[in-house]
Symmetry: C2
Subunit: 239 residues, 2 copies
DNA sequence: CGCCCTGTTGATAATATTCAATGAGTGTGG
DNA sequence: CCACACTCATTGAATATTATCAACAGGGCG
């Protein structure tokens, strides 16, 4: 049941058998959730800690002028609320992008595990550091790329992370985001996202059908998005 | 000598006497650095770990089209390269904004300290989490605010962090950034930053002289920047 | 069948960029 | 002490990119 999380931890830091056993011995509750369901609300006190077993989540924040910005997206294996879990308050809303399945841990159980198992501590710490790294790349994405670049970069990142989570073979995948959500992730308007996606289809970069994205020309897409996967720190996988 | 760092750690997590002694017993080297000096280069392998004793640093990244984006700015007491230090490779360039003074630690010394002293581990972990939180706010800043809002927000954040570091009384402070650098932090052009700052001066929001910023109307500035300091997690100070 | 969500289109407007030139301040060497 | 170079700030005009507003189309679902 916890396999996606254990895989991810092992990618972050190779765990010994005892570490793995200790992690699997952790008490937890499984929760099935629907698309759109809010997991954690902005400003609320957060007590537990969540591991994402299936489906996708996203964190976002609504400004006072009503504009919304998506801060991050999470794939199975991620711990989408380590931040609020450890800092005590959620600064963002955490919401399901798709239906999914969560593992709920108690904060103090995790705290104890981390104290007793340095390898797991390091793995989780690396997870938060990579979070920061991705977030920094998003700052650059939204701050310094034009619309085509931003969207291309988002598509590349998502594909890469799916592949690393073992959820993608080939170059077709389901991007579970509406154009509205892509707009909120890239700092654009939905209208402009629509027109930009059309252009990308017209020039043969990608093909979309329903929510399925097929990348026709990965190299050109990566070039357009100035995509360099270093910031995802996937080389950890190969250690 | 290490007082700024120790203060910061204590704000993040109250340390006992033994924790403090252990931290102060850490071997380190002090390095005086000039404005503009590069501390850590994009892509380089990073071995040590840095504490900022005096002056300001910033992390930035240059895209292939030549555009530059500043990802974060650090004030004395911060550990500006925990990320690259623990992940092994620097993904961004770390550079001095002003002349300053660094404390250089060895990565394995710090690693040992963290294993032996859970309170220090928690403090440093919180530091990285707050880093992420700030980074997320920057995504929202650059993604969803207009030029005036972005700059106002930057000014508010900097003032708040300076105050928290004990470097600011009243509402005047030196913003050690050129308009070019403000532009790179906010995802704007220097020309537009210039015009926007002029407008902010004209409407009496701020006053600038040399690199000194005086905030004339904090409330209006905070409103303009939609500034809510929660994301800085300074309440840790009051614990 | 009708509603709601998502995607699409067109026209217009606002915001920010680009390019190019000038000024003001600072430090350097002759 | 002055000329010179350099960096940073400022200005204007033209342009580009993206937002806004409003309307409509299509598909899935109760």
């Amino acid at each position: 049941m916890l396999a996606p999380l254990l895989n991810k931890l092992n990618q972050l830091e190779p765990l010994g058998q005892e570490d793995q056993d200790a992690f699997l011995a952790l008490p937890f509750r499984v929760k099935e959730v629907e698309a759109g369901q809010i997991i954690l609300d902005e400003g609320k006190h957060s007590t537990g800690c969540i591991g994402l077993l299936a489906g996708f989540t996203y964190r976002h924040r609504t400004l006072r002028n009503g504009a919304r910005q998506i801060i991050s997206v999470h794939v199975p294996g991620d711990f989408p609320d380590l931040q609020s879990g450890l800092l005590g308050t959620a600064i963002h809303t955490l919401q399901m992008l798709t239906p999914g399945r969560l593992a709920l841990f108690r904060a103090d159980d995790l705290q104890r595990l981390v104290s007793e198992r340095p390898a797991i501590r390091d793995a989780l710490w690396r997870e938060t550091l990579i979070d920061t790294s991705i977030c920094g790349e998003w700052v650059a994405n939204v701050g310094r790329r034009d619309a085509r670049g931003r969207i291309a970069h988002l598509l590349c990142e998502f594909a890469m992370r799916l592949r690393s989570a073992g959820l993608l073979e080939g170059d077709s995948y389901e991007l579970p985001m509406t154009q509205d959500q892509i707009a909120d992730a890239t700092g654009l308007t939905a209208v402009h996202v629509n027109r930009t996606l059309q252009e990308m289809r017209r020039t043969g970069l990608i093909h979309t059908e329903r929510r399925m994205v097929k990348v026709n020309d990965w190299d050109r897409l990566a070039a357009l998005g100035d995509f360099n996967p270093q910031y995802l720190h996937l080389e950890a996988v190969r250690n």
